[in-house]
């Protein structure tokens, strides 16, 4: 496939979801860079995550595999891989575990490394299962409120309070 703006082969395939109708873009590296520079987040020196992802997924996945992958969901925050792939933002800390196979090559691609060597929090991390459980309960509250099941929401709130008060 050729780039939409020139004769070079398109190596970046971007789906823009900013408007209601998804827009597909097929660009060569140079035009992709120009395009992504415009669309860049204002605060961030982001190496375009969409570009890096698109490139990585194109190399390693067939279309079928990709559509299967897109359906995967985090059991804690319920974000789908599709959603992450398109917005470039994860839904909760647990996503780094449940999407680890997809994220590892991406992280290597961005950082050239996959292990942190810098600062550590001073105090030990308390049981991460409890933290993850809290995130799950917070989502369930929102669902319960959405269904107007205030009794369940109240029970869940008690559970959160109980967990938070555990030493």
């Amino acid at each position: 496939m050729k780039c939409q703006h020139c004769e070079k082969p398109a190596t970046f395939h971007i789906t823009e979801l900013a408007d209601s109708i998804p827009e597909e873009l097929h660009l060569c590296e140079e035009h992709a860079r120009v395009y992504l520079m415009q669309a860049d987040e204002p605060d961030e020196a982001n190496p375009s995550i969409a570009g890096a992802l698109a490139q990585q997924l194109k190399i390693s996945q067939t279309a079928d595999e990709l559509s299967q992958l897109d359906k995967q969901q985090c059991p804690i925050c319920q974000i789908s891989f599709y959603e992450f792939r398109h917005v470039g933002r994860l839904g909760c800390p647990h996503d780094y575990e449940c999407f680890d196979q997809q994220l590892e090559p991406l992280i290597l691609n961005i950082h050239g490394d996959n292990a942190h060597v810098g600062k550590q929090p001073r105090r030990g991390q308390p049981g991460s299962n409890r933290q993850t459980e809290l995130i799950r309960l917070r989502r369930q509250i929102e669902e319960a409120v959405g269904k107007e099941d205030y009794e369940l929401a109240s029970e869940l709130r008690d559970q959160i309070q109980h967990l938070e008060e555990e030493p």
Partner: protein
């Protein structure tokens, strides 16, 4: 904190002092941090955002040394006030444009700000005038420790600090140094320099991070990699590159002085002339001309202006600052008139001080 009072001051990053401050405007570090027991911002309910905001507010209140820190509810600010904080680099555009509970805590000297519910739950930023990353790191490391005494951060044994975007995972740290590089722009060497920076994984952005457009020839150099290197390593890398950039800019200035002093002097004098006499002027043109003027003062071509005055004009002629200082909301056309008026008041020579001619401008 009263934003109208703040508007009269210059802010830390344009104070114009500190090492190498003719070229290096400011040194800045930010850390991205998240609570371990909440989803990232994208999956937070409005209730979650409020709870996070309240919890961080309580944390800030509990730190006794921070009793003079101002806490600002960004959700409650009008557009001009939000824009005002963006122009001062105290909050990001992303925080200004978001919705629901979000806030910023700012210390009185404007050296640090804590953004709450931006892309991550907490973004700590420390900024100092001139080139002084070691001092910036010392301060931000301490702030991070103080907050961490009260808060459990999302941290992974292998991946480090977990962030909403995998581009920040690990240290969660972005180191940025802002440089004023007018001579590299004039001599058309800037793109070449930036390409070589990109090869070593450093990013280059404009003043407010806007695309590739660099207003007023201000450029921010920052790290892209956040994982696999320690904070000290990342800072060292920037610290090694900046003197090279300073050297390039100084050489380009010397080249302009030796090879085309007359053209250079003409450019600077014309910029001064327009800034002193225009009746209506856009923000872009002002930035562009102030940039030439700033270089002219640094090279000794203009001797009746001080760098702090020019730095102040860079910030005070921004749209929201003009409106805060004039005390009224102005549309673009009125701002351009007010900006020209403000510039004249502060640049015109021959009068004893800025005040004496202020009454006869209209």
């Amino acid at each position: 904190m009263d934003l109208a009072t703040l508007a009269q001051q210059c802010g830390e990053w344009l104070r114009g002092s500190g090492p190498e401050s003719d070229i290096v405007i400011s040194s800045r570090i930010r850390l991205a941090r998240n609570f371990s027991d909440f989803p990232f911002i994208r999956k937070c309910s409005p209730q979650d955002r409020s709870t996070i905001e309240q919890r961080l507010r309580d944390t800030i209140d509990s730190i006794s040394q921070w009793s003079n820190v101002s806490y600002i509810d960004v959700d409650a600010l009008n557009d001009v006030d939000q824009q005002f904080l963006v122009e001062r680099q105290l909050i990001s555009r992303e925080l200004a444009d978001a919705s629901d509970a979000r806030a910023v805590a700012i210390d009185p000297s404007e050296q640090f700000s804590l953004m709450i519910n931006e892309e991550d739950h907490l973004r700590i930023q420390v900024m100092k005038s001139g080139l002084d990353l070691a001092a910036v790191w010392d301060q931000i490391d301490g702030i991070d420790d103080q907050i961490e005494e009260v808060v459990n951060y999302a941290f992974h044994p292998t991946l480090g600090y977990l962030t909403a975007c995998p581009t920040n995972v690990g240290t969660g740290m972005r180191v940025s140094v802002m440089l004023h590089l007018p001579a590299l722009v004039i001599t058309r060497q800037i793109d070449k320099v930036f390409r070589s920076l990109q090869k070593i994984s450093l990013a280059v952005r404009g003043l407010y991070g806007e695309g590739s457009q660099a207003m007023g020839d201000f450029y921010q150099i920052s790290n892209q990699i956040t994982l696999g290197r320690s904070e000290q390593d990342l800072i060292s890398q920037i610290n090694e590159v900046i003197p090279v950039m300073i050297d390039y800019e100084r050489k380009a200035r010397q080249f302009l002085v030796s090879e085309s002093q007359q053209d250079l002097h003409d450019r600077v004098s014309r910029a001064y002339g327009i800034l002193c006499t225009a009746k209506t002027i856009s923000s872009e043109e002002t930035m562009h001309l102030l940039s030439s003027l700033r270089m002219g003062v640094n090279l000794g071509l203009i001797d009746d202006l001080e760098i702090p005055t020019i730095n102040k004009l860079f910030i005070h002629t921004q749209p929201a600052h003009l409106q805060k200082i004039s005390g009224s909301e102005l549309d673009t056309a009125d701002r351009n008139i007010e900006r020209a008026h403000y510039l004249q008041k502060h640049l015109r020579r021959g009068s004893d001080d800025g005040e004496s001619d202020s009454g006869e401008q209209n």
